[in-house]
Amino acid sequence: MKLWVLRGLKKGMLTTKFPKEQPTQDELSRKSFPPTPSKVSDWERGRLICPTGAIQYDSQLAKSEIDLGKCIYCQRCSSAGFEFPETRDSTSALKATFATNGDSAYESDERLLFEKYSKLWKSFKKSFHVLMIDVGSCNACNFEVLNLSNPYYDFNRLGIFFTNSPKHADALIVVGALNKAMVDVLKRTYDNIPSPKLVISVGACSISGGIFQNTESFASPVRKVIPVDVVVPGCPPTPIQILQGLLIATGRIKTTESFVRAPTDIEETSEQEEEEKNEGSSSFKGVSG
């Protein structure tokens, strides 16, 4: 037993200073930065290259944006002139994590979150129990969520804990591309969580289907099935980004414009869903400049 104590002392403190201080470059691993258009960006070529349809461009409507909920950070678009800064000051990196382009659907984001949950924020501060549900991930997102409890991120210090049962949960973390076989399971899990409850959708897969959006068994983005409060883009997002998502959900990080709240457009009939899919509409977009 003594040996463990000694070892612990020898190692010193590993835990990140986030959220008191900005995370270091090391903690935001390199590909956590989204692509940014530069002067030489060829939007049309980018649109063709992008495997997930994250680059949206229409010359007639003069529409050009990068949908961060779809981007998997594959860096293919770098050949079309999009930049992937390797170093970036972490403040802007974090902002981009939850960026919105001011799409009208999100204008009232923070207010909604505030209205819905602000009364609870005080009690969440000491004890916030999250349940992770995998609805079809590749396991990398699961790893990253589990990593939140390792000494480098240690979210227990912020009063956030994992729980095993929906009945004890305050929030649901959803990872993975919603599989048809999991739709019902997801709904039932959600129903079993006592209200009020928060839902945090982690990873490109759960936000939009990511790279799996064209596979046969992909049902729909998670927010079409249960109401989602905060999204964390990335493939997979780094633990710091997920932690930030959790802190935003509990009102611990105040932001003015730096997070997205997905609209709760739950489909009643499958027909509507079909239409949605055909239009290829995506409800939140990333920064474009």
């Binding site: 612990g8 594959c74 860096q75 990253e144 390792n150 000494p151 599989n179 999991m182």
Partner: protein, 487 residues
């Protein structure tokens, strides 16, 4: 003739996957040049398929295949439960086999329940149907398919480099193995000369991946034994490996470092390599210190020893692979038994244990962390100089390879081989991929035999007779991933 049959087997969709899998193993056997003629067997299998027999009648018996690991996958055994297991593995998404209908869930005190798919004991979407008697597990049927994404089906018709993005996301924590396996197979059939250096860098990535997965398995075991101080220390080591991945390969889970014809990262500077290696060595050293503490802890050892025992015979007949097989005393490791470059050039010790229990598998993993460190040292030390990417340095080369990959390959280069196969020793064992390209260089079919898939049966067998509280130890010691088997 043989090839034609194999192609039909691999490419045809309505055929039971069990057959595809045994076909894979037969091709593998053929590639081994061991002189055995598989033609008759495949013909027989094909005839069975045409006669629409059930899955089971198509599974060859142990005697027919000989007791060689590479020829065994889903073989008939004396286990009466096996048919049900196989059915449950191939069932439609989310469905469970009806145990009651088979008389297995009957009797005084027998209790059945479903574990999963939402449980923290298994952080993935997958379930188990348990049949228990008191605390004892009588039978267990894994229920996979909750998250099958159908990657093999959806990449048909894609360009190989587009497909790579999906393939490497089959199992995020085995992504280096998956992408290397796929890229190597595609390069083989396109006859692309991959630079030496790229192949060596891929091997470094695979070994790093092995290290972090083994650390993860160990930490989860320690967590299950409520040794949380130690578990967190190992989790911290794992985090350090992930950060090394990010630093040198550009991604914490090694996504996107591979491409067809080379790798994107650059380890050409000696300082970089030395720095990388000294970090890895430090991690391995700290890990071995933690392990030493551990092996003196009776509480931990008691939980592992004699838990989920898998005999060598069972491991052979159920087709176990990877650390599971090696933990039961089967000396099979693709890095030695089926080496691709550069494993044929370097020495990787083969670690086995004869215990066959959770402890044996854990010991194999612990020693493999050390052997991977040695391998990384050799790989980095002797890394061939030169470019890491085909056509690197030429202007716009990357864009060319991204957008018009197929246009740059001539049709003639595609005619030599019909399909190509690659086997990689992933952290959980033997990963096999068979790729077939069409004339334009697009994917015609891909068949993946994931390592976890091969181990489900062994897992179910080994749990019989254990108490339910040992479930976590058994599960983590097998290193099973649902994402992997539900590719």
């Amino acid at each position: 003739m043989l090839r034609k049959f194999v192609e039909q087997i691999v490419g045809a969709s309505p055929i039971s996957k069990a057959i595809q899998l045994s076909a894979v193993f037969k091709i593998a056997g053929e590639h081994d040049d061991d002189g055995r003629d598989n033609k008759e067997e495949i013909l027989a299998i094909w005839a069975d398929i045409e006669n629409n027999k059930t899955i089971l009648s198509l599974v060859p018996s142990v005697e027919e295949l000989g007791r060689k690991p590479e020829t065994l996958l889903l073989c008939q055994s004396s286990l009466s439960f096996l048919p049900l297991l196989i059915k449950s593995l191939y069932s439609t998404p989310g469905s469970q086999i009806d145990l009651d209908a088979h008389g297995l869930a009957e009797g005084y005190g027998i209790f059945t329940f479903l574990y999963g798919p939402v449980t923290f004991g298994v952080p993935e979407a997958g379930g188990f149907k348990f049949v228990t008697y008191g605390e004892r597990i009588v039978k267990v049927a894994p229920t996979i398919n909750f998250k099958r994404r159908g990657i093999e089906q959806s990449i048909v018709g894609m360009k190989p480099d587009e497909a790579l993005l999906l393939v490497e996301r089959s199992a995020g924590n085995f992504s280096a193995s998956y992408s290397t396996c796929f890229a190597t197979a595609v390069e083989d059939s396109l006859r692309i000369e991959t630079p030496e250096a790229a192949k060596w860098i891929r091997a470094v990535a695979i070994e790093l991946e092995r290290i972090y997965n083994h650390l993860h398995a160990f930490a989860r075991e320690a967590e299950a034994a409520t040794q949380s101080v130690a578990a967190n220390q190992v989790h911290a080591l794992k985090e350090r490996v992930l950060r090394l991945n990010a630093k040198y390969f550009g991604h914490r889970f090694l996504f996107g470092f591979n491409e067809i014809g080379g790798v994107k990262c650059d380890l050409s500077s000696r300082e970089d390599r030395e720095e990388l290696f000294s970090s890895v060595r430090e991690i391995a050293k700290e890990f071995s210190e933690i392990v030493d503490y551990f092996l003196s802890s009776r509480i931990f050892l008691d939980r592992l020893q004699n838990t989920a025992r898998l005999s060598k015979e069972d491991a052979l007949s159920l087709g176990a692979v990877g650390p599971v097989a090696r933990g039961s005393g089967i000396d099979w490791d693709d890095r030695q038994s089926y080496p691709i470059e550069p494993y044929s050039d370097i020495f990787v010790p083969l670690e086995t244990s004869n215990d066959g229990d959770a402890m044996g598998r854990m010991m194999v993993r612990i020693r493999e962390v050390a052997s991977s460190t040695v391998a990384i040292e050799e790989l980095l030390d002797r890394l061939p100089a030169g470019k890491t990417k085909k056509g690197a340095g030429e202007k716009n080369a990357e864009f060319q390879s991204t957008l018009s990959f197929s246009a740059t390959t001539t049709t003639s280069s595609l005619t030599q081989s019909d399909f190509s196969l690659c086997r990689i020793e992933s952290p959980s064992g033997d990963l096999i991929q068979i790729v077939k390209l069409d004339k334009r260089g697009r994917i015609k079919s891909l068949h993946i035999r994931p390592p976890s898939f091969a181990n489900w049966l062994s897992f179910a067998k080994s749990l019989e007779g254990n108490v339910f509280t040992d479930f976590q130890f058994s599960f983590e010691s097998f290193g099973l991933s649902y994402a992997d088997s539900d590719r």
